[in-house]
Every structure is written in structure tokens, then in C-alpha cells.
Amino acid sequence: MDSRVYAWRSPLLHGGVKINEKCETTLEGLFAAGEVTGGLHGANRMGGNALSETLVFGARAGRFAAEHAKDSTFFEADREFVDTEFQRVHTFFKDQGVHPWVIRERLGSLMCANLGVIRNREGMERALRQIEDLKGQTEDIRAPKFKRFNRLWIEALEVASMFDVAEMVVRSALFREESRGAHYREEYPETRKEWLKHTCVRKQDSKMDLTTRPVVITKLKCGHE
């Protein structure tokens, strides 16, 4: 997606797009709600807790998006960007190549092997290299040439975006030199007070910028506070 959209990344796969209280992302006019957003549950998230993300923020996103739509006009589309994107999505239509799920499965298993329950620097750096290698195979991904309900084409587009998400997960997990919640680092088994902060990843051109943000603590206190 657009490089201007920030992403929160908490340790495991609890990250998501960074939103404010109005569900606005850093891209004007783009609202997000539900499991695609992050930062609400801290270092770990119990099953079923997406309820607050979907119901509460779903309602808020709808309300604020409607308010925003009331007094906003359409943006002028960046013609060049549209053309490039149009070209890109059509590159998958070809006769020879690999099916997108082959790449998807490889990406899945490398993430599972190296960024599972116990993580270490060696494994994560290996994962980064393997993601880079797999990315090189994006050109080979193929989908049959038709546009009506083309599941393989959708999958091809998704796989291409998954590389960015996978890289964000690895880079932020490498960045956090402690263990917290569902993130366990072999080299840093203890939770450190100075790491009580959010990791923020932003893709700028082809580079990932990592920054931190303070955690806002409300009713529930943190264990080492």
C-alpha cells in the first residue's frame, strides 16, 4: 500500500495500522477499524478481544468517516501513481510461472519457523534474507487472464503486499530487545522497563523506519510500573 500509512507493530502479530481516536490513519480520508488496526491491546491479546476493535471502532470509524465525507471533496488523483499501479496489477497475467499460493506458503513457513514462540537474532536475520530472496520471485507469480472473480489474481496481489507486512514484523521484533507479552527473545528473556513503548514502522521508499511512541496507560496498570 501507500508508503505514507504508518503501522503499529507490537511484538507478535498484534500490530496494525496506526489510528487516532477518530480512526483516522496518517493518509487523509482513509479510516481503519477492526483487526487491521493495532495498539489497543498492548503486548498480548487474548482471543475474542477483537470485539472492542470491531464494534467500538467500527461504529466510530463509520461516524467519523461520514462526518469527514460531508465537507470534503475528491482528491486529485496522482495520475502517474495510478498508471504505475495499473501496470503493476496487470503484470500477474501470464501463461508461465508459479501460482501465488506456492510463494505464500513458503513465506508462511519461513515466518513460522523463525518468528514463532521463541525468537532469536540469528533466526530473524535469516528470515529477513529469505524474505528478500522470495521477493525476487514475485515476478514469476502468475494468474490466469480474466477479471471476473479471479481468486488467483487476488491472491497474487495479496502475496505481493505480504512481503512488506512480513518485513515489518521481523524488523520490529529485531528492534525490541526484550521479552514482553507474546514476544519472547532468547537473548533477552526479561521484560525491561525502558521498553514500555510502542514500535512504529513506516515504509519510506524502500526503507523501513522504526520509531517508538509512549504507551498511554489508563485503567489497567502495567506489571513493572
Partner: protein
């Protein structure tokens, strides 16, 4: 020990290309507990990549997204267990406009609103009198 494969006679139709629907026959190796949805996935992954069906589903007969017509009867593909050597005719759910192959537009019901039926374009499999 090899059991007889399952034979699926599947409805194929792409409104962009085809003048009329056709049926294609595929053989899927049988195994214990094989579900129709898994058999369709096997066809798509191994035999015919163009086959379209809805597989974004719960897999436990709740969400109805894999609802289709099997041997003339509305069935959830994820809950239909296949027997060895069985021959099935698989068609899209009757009464809904066809998007492609087994995928229909569930957003438009022809049974509830006759006006919609008139306005609708494309092919719809009609309910037969002998269906339940």
C-alpha cells in the same frame, strides 16, 4: 488400497466470454472424510485453475458462503461428505444471479422480490418443481 475416485460434473460459465453455460467433468481421488469443498479445492489447485467457487468460509456449515446446488438440492459444500465412486452434479445456488461458475450474488434474492427478478441481468438457475 485405492478407492474409486469421485466424479464431479461442474457447472462452468463466465458471462464475459461464454454464450451459454457448460458442464465439465473432473475426477478427484477419494479419501476418508473428503468434503465437497476440499474436492473443489483439489480441482482448482490441480486440475482447472479457472474454476470459481466461494471458499472464504467458516468451514463448519455456519456462514452459508459455500452454498451451492448439489444433485439439484441446496447444499453447503463444507458439510457434504463424499463417498467413493460417487458422481455429483455441482451447480451454483438456484435463484441468484451468477457471477462466474459456482459463484452467485447472494445479495440479490429473486424469491422475495419479483421486481428484482425482472431487472436482473444474466443467467439464473431457476428452481425446479421437483426440488425441495
Amino acid at each position: 488400497m485405492s478407492e474409486k475416485p469421485v466424479v464431479l460434473k461442474i457447472f462452468k460459465f463466465d458471462p464475459d466470454v461464454d454464450y451459454e453455460p457448460k458442464y465439465k467433468t473432473y475426477e478427484v481421488p477419494w479419501r476418508e472424510g473428503l468434503l465437497l469443498l476440499q474436492a473443489l479445492k483439489h480441482v482448482r489447485d490441480q486440475l482447472d485453475e479457472t474454476l470459481a467457487f466461494r471458499d472464504y468460509c467458516c468451514g463448519c456449515a455456519w456462514c452459508m458462503s459455500c452454498l451451492m446446488t448439489v444433485n439439484g438440492k441446496g447444499t453447503q459444500a463444507c458439510s457434504r461428505i463424499l463417498e467413493p465412486g460417487e458422481t455429483l452434479t455441482v451447480e451454483p445456488m438456484r435463484g441468484f444471479p451468477i457471477i462466474r461458475d459456482l459463484v452467485v450474488d447472494f445479495g440479490v434474492s429473486v424469491w422475495t422480490d419479483e421486481g428484482v427478478f425482472k431487472k436482473m441481468e444474466g443467467i439464473i438457475l431457476k428452481k425446479r418443481s421437483d426440488d425441495e
